[in-house]
């Protein structure tokens, strides 16, 4: 795959995420500050053992929203490179579900852009997780909620 012209990799994939490959694709020259966030599947949720975490996307809209967030981050944070990858399908605890990598001349911008993309994803990218336990499974609705209920307060 040739490196993208604009130093941006946005992808949904059913395969295990290969962070170093995707970052290498996006990294054109040494830009200065690079920040990497990985969202990793936890083996436990609210006291229950999670056996599998299943992710589903509305693919066309998820990609459009991810690209839109990167575009916004470019202008807000002078982002010079980005990787934004979400994996779908059945993941095991310890596997990476989402990778966000940002590059900018200065660290404040790289950190800010990374946070912006992760927060934006949590709020508005159409992907959903289903937690599988030993004795059942449930779709998680919203950031922390369980199906049929609103977000839990912590």
């Amino acid at each position: 795959m040739p490196p993208p012209e604009d130093s941006v990799v946005v992808r949904l994939t059913g395969d295990p995420i290969d962070a170093s490959r995707d970052i290498a694709l996006a990294r054109r020259t040494s830009i200065g500050a690079e920040v990497t966030f990985s969202g990793v599947v936890r083996g436990e949720s609210k006291g229950r053992r999670v056996t599998v975490l299943e992710y589903e996307a509305y693919p066309e809209m998820a990609l459009a929203e991810m690209r839109r967030l990167v575009s916004e981050a470019r202008s807000r944070f002078r982002l010079e490179g980005a990787v934004f990858v979400h994996r779908t399908g059945r993941l095991l605890p310890g596997e990476t579900a989402v990778l966000v990598w940002t590059a900018s001349s200065h660290r404040a911008e790289a950190f800010g852009a990374c946070q912006f993309l992760v927060d934006g994803m949590k709020r508005g990218v159409p992907v959903w997780k289903k937690e599988h336990y030993d004795d059942g499974a449930v779709w998680i609705e919203g950031d922390g909620g369980v199906q049929g209920r609103g977000p839990d307060c912590e």
Partner: protein, 80 residues
């Protein structure tokens, strides 16, 4: 009009998608959702639980419909 359902909305609908003619009259997303509720009681019994998108952008109830629109119904997102 084509409807697509995701996650628990698909479970509630019992199908991944639905295509039906809204008939004369309906002109907004809100109208389309009302017709959908009638067609799919599984979704309709808890319509406030779902979000909607029109042509892959989040929709507001007052948004105008056009021929060939795709409406997606889904719970609040939980990616990452």
């Amino acid at each position: 009009m084509k409807f697509r359902f995701f996650a628990s909305a698909r479970d509630a609908a019992g199908v991944a998608d639905l295509v039906f003619d809204l008939g004369p009259g309906p002109s907004t997303v809100s109208d389309a959702l009302a017709r959908l509720s009638e067609r799919s009681p599984g979704l309709g019994q808890d319509m406030g639980r779902w979000l909607s998108a029109r042509n892959q952008r989040f929709a507001k109830p007052g948004d105008a419909l056009e021929d060939g629109d795709e409406i997606a119904i889904f719970p609040p997102v939980s990616g990452g």
